[in-house]
Symmetry: C2
């Protein structure tokens, strides 16, 4: 086994999920993630944790969904499993990213709605999602398998403690600030962040962070004004988005356009009132991620980018008891600041051309 | 997908496990059983049952066991899952039947002991074990993959209702009889079956039968006297057994020998007092199984054979409240009656040369 697979497993178990002796751990293994599953099983055995492996197979799930109707029940046995579990490790990495292409969207929606309680029980565990570098994900990224593996391990095998410390600087700036401004050639957007708390998403449940890799600082903005262009291409709902442009007034979208996928943007905005407002402002700080791979888990953490999400805000960013922007959707869109972009907090430049002011080469 | 995979799944779900709408079903998918898993998922979707797939991976299990020590806990989350489940479908079929060869036996034993409660919860579901015809199982059988698939589907896709009816005849004879005698060139063994109830094992939970394929009638014998030679070769504890010969007096083994694997027989007999006595007399009646494949799920059901198990008896064969032979082991051994063998109940020949008296060609 590639040593990096073992290191990936150990990072996931120790740094990310903080697994301890006696923990009841569910490991969900995607079709292509077997090798990582074996490494995670060994790490759990060494730490005297209890392992139950589930099979996160896109093909089984597709067959099940297509064979049924639109009526689903909440599964008691799955709920009981997650209510009794301490940790959930989701090892993504399928064999075909388009496997659900012929599952009707309504049916998927009905299935997800029926499983709301299960989802909440999963979120109450120390859950972490990661991905094994499969050929399907390499293909999605337009990369060779070998090249993609390098990319994934560069992103995952970071010095997370050092990165958490660096991200702490930005968190302090955002927590102390009132207004954030984004500027590029075709963007000038202002959001308010006063009264909100930024999350230092350092790929560990100890930091309220549930993705490996992570490496972003995010908060829940409000009172958005101005125009933003998202120049990083993405796939949303199986369709391609390019150069999405949104204009906000009084916090809500008043105009939108896109070079590609404009209809998808319209669909998202039509979901509900909350879908027209931002739920997240995130700043990518993972320098191991240096290219777009059409995979949101990686793209949104890319160092030198900023992402904004239409829809639901995360509770962790809000004062206790206060509800943030609510919506059935949370759709991230990304803009690259590395070529002429600027990030300001309360009028002061924090990042210029993708370089933070505490980094070498900063020219603010 | 091969239509037979779909038929296998439907037989498992409908005939064997009697799955109904709303059932909470756990499907354990072995590494090589993905294709059958997809077919089972579709069958469950059609029947509006709830699906949770677990990953029955020998490689994950081996890695977990080898990495740990000999201390294991009962896993609460897995117990909660099975306590809430209605049905467990175990889809066997690994990629290497020797995958556990380097797991210390003591550790496996400690793991199994810690999971006693989980095992009981699993047995309280409508559980059924089956196997997908993988290359590893074909290799174990000494067969081509294509040839092995034919073999497996011949065994699994029977007219189970007709077979259940035929097996009912033998069950009636055993339930009404007192003494069973087995005779071959080198066997003359008598067991008592009075006060015991035979199980018509027709591959369905409706018949107290939990294997697909099945096709045997079995009971819990006592007062064994005489000598039996098991001429069907087997693998027990990873070692080969050939022509095991046991002599019984007053129900217990007083002498043993084997052309190969005599030490394994000795180990089994030394386990405890119950290991020296028979826990099962089973009569194979599945005519779809016409050859030995070194796989107990199939071998013991072969039409024209009889198997006897050293060790634990099944409660279903015993009067309510009466404990049968108890032991930590249950080791099946098989003898072929097709060439000169005879099965008698109370002195009357029921089967001669592997042919039952109600079949064409019977010459009793």
């Amino acid at each position: 086994m590639d040593d990096r697979v073992r290191e990936h497993a150990e990072t996931l178990v120790d740094w990310s999920a903080r697994v301890e002796s006696g923990d009841d751990v569910v490991v969900s293994v995607a079709e292509g993630a077997h090798e990582l599953g074996v490494a995670v099983a060994a790490a759990l055995g060494e730490r005297d944790a209890n392992l139950l492996a589930t099979y996160g197979s896109d093909e089984l799930n597709r067959a099940y969904l297509r064979a049924g109707d639109d009526e689903f029940e909440s599964p008691d046995h799955e709920l009981a499993l997650y209510e009794a579990a301490d940790v959930l490790l989701r090892l993504g990495g399928g064999r075909n990213t388009a496997e659900h292409a012929d599952v009707p969207g309504d049916r998927k929606g009905a299935y997800d709605r029926a499983r709301q309680e299960v989802r909440e029980a999963r979120m109450d565990t120390r859950w972490v999602s990661t991905q094994h570098p499969t050929r399907a994900l390499a293909q999605q990224a337009g990369m060779s398998h070998a090249g993609y593996r390098e990319f994934v391990y560069d992103a995952v095998l970071r010095d997370w403690e050092a990165l958490a410390e660096e991200m702490g600087r930005l968190k302090d700036l955002l927590d102390g600030g009132s207004e954030v401004r984004l500027v590029t050639d075709d963007t000038d957007l202002t959001v308010r962040v006063d009264g909100r708390t930024a999350v230092n998403s350092a790929a560990s449940v100890a930091y309220d962070s549930h993705n490996l890799p992570s490496g972003e600082v995010f908060t829940a903005p409000h009172a958005t004004e101005g125009t933003v262009t998202f120049d990083v291409p993405m796939t949303v709902r199986g369709r391609r988005l390019q150069d999405v442009r949104l204009t906000f007034e009084d916090g809500a979208v008043v105009d939108y356009a896109a070079a590609q996928g404009e209809d998808v943007v319209g669909e998202v905005l039509d979901t509900d009132d909350g879908a027209e407002r931002l739920g997240e402002l995130g700043v990518g700080m993972n320098r191991g991620i240096d290219r777009v791979t059409d995979n949101i888990l990686f793209d949104e953490k890319m160092g030198g980018t900023v992402h904004l999400a239409l829809g639901r805000a995360y509770d962790a960013c809000l004062p206790d008891g206060e509800a943030g922007n609510d919506s059935a959707v949370h759709v991230d869109l990304i803009t690259d600041l590395r070529d002429g972009g600027r990030l300001e907090v309360d009028g002061e430049t924090v990042q210029q051309d993708g370089v933070f002011r505490w980094e070498d080469g900063f020219e603010g």
